[in-house]
C-alpha cells in the first residue's frame, strides 16, 4: 500500500499559483495514484487554506474575490464542467499575479 496522502497547504503566492495551475490539469477529480486519498475535497481544502495564508500579500478585497471564485469553481467541477472551472482557475491566477505585482509597486 502506498503511503497515505498528507494535506499540502500552500504558504506562498507562488505555491498557490502552482496549485491552481495543477488543478487545471487534474480537474475535475484531482486524483493521482501516487497520492491515494487526494481528491476534490483535499484539493479545495488546500486551496482555501492557501488563500488564507497569502491574504496579507494580496489584500482583503482580493482574498474575498478569490474565495468567491474558488467556491464557484468547485461548483463547476462538481457539475463536470471542466473547461468552465479551468477558466475560473486561470482567472484566479491572473488576479493574484496582477494584485501581488501592484502591491509590490506600492510598497517600493
Amino acid at each position: 500500500m502506498v503511503t497515505p496522502y498528507k494535506l499540502t497547504i500552500p504558504e506562498t503566492v507562488g505555491a498557490v499559483q502552482d496549485l491552481l495551475g495543477t488543478m487545471q490539469l487534474t480537474s475535475p477529480d484531482f486524483t493521482h495514484d501516487m497520492f491515494p486519498g487526494m481528491n476534490i475535497d483535499t484539493t479545495f481544502t488546500e486551496l482555501f487554506a492557501g488563500l488564507d495564508n497569502i491574504r496579507e500579500a494580496i489584500g482583503g478585497e482580493c482574498h474575498e474575490a478569490l474565495v468567491a471564485m474558488a467556491t464557484e469553481m468547485r461548483k463547476r467541477f462538481e457539475a463536470n464542467e471542466v473547461r468552465e472551472g479551468n477558466i475560473i482557475a486561470y482567472g484566479m491566477q491572473e488576479m493574484i499575479t496582477a494584485t501581488a505585482k501592484s502591491r509590490r509597486k506600492k510598497t517600493n
Partner: protein, 201 residues
Amino acid sequence: MVRDLYLGQRDRLIDQLHALDPNWSYASLGEPGTAQGRLNDLTDLRAQRAAMVYSQTGDTQLLQVETLRTVQRFVDEGYALGTRRFDDGLLSPRLNRNEAIGNFVDQYARQNLQRWFNQYGVSTGATLPIGVNNRAYAADGSYRIPDLRVGNAAFDPTLSLKTASTPQVQGFFNAKFAPSSVTIVRPTALGGSYIIPRPRH
C-alpha cells in the same frame, strides 16, 4: 517471473527499512494485483528508504536519485496532460501554446514534488537542504530560483534545451549552495533529461 522480481525487490527494501528503523512497519493491504500497483509499491518503499536515510544521517544522495525518478515522472505527466488539454480546448486560450504548456509543466512538477516531500515527511525551505521554488542567493546578493534543490544538486523542469552557458544555469552554479550539477528535466517525449556538471574553472 515478474512477480518474483517484485517480491524479491520488495523484501529487500523492507529488510533495509527495518535495519534503518526497527520500529518501522510495512503498511500493506496485500499484494497489488496489477503491474502498476506493484511498481507504485516499490516506488513508495524506495521513497520511504531515501527519506529515512536523509532524516537519520542528513545524506541526500539516495533522495537525489529518487527525486530525479519522481520529477521525471511528474514532468512527463504534466507535459502529456498539458498538451492534451490545451489541444482539446479545456484550458483558457493563450497566445503561445508552447509557453503555456511549459508553464503548466513547471507548476505541475513543483506542486507534486511539494506533495511528495510532504508525504514522506521531508521538510523543504530556503534555509534547508531541500528546496522547492526557493531563492538561492549568490555571494553578491543576487539570486536565482531553482524549481528544485536537493543537497548539492539542482533540478530544472523545462521544455527548453539549456546548456552550461545559459544565464539561468550559470546563476544556479554561482549560488551559495554550489551545486555539483544541474539536471535539466525535459519530457521524455521531447528527448528526455540530461545532467550539466559544474564547469571547471
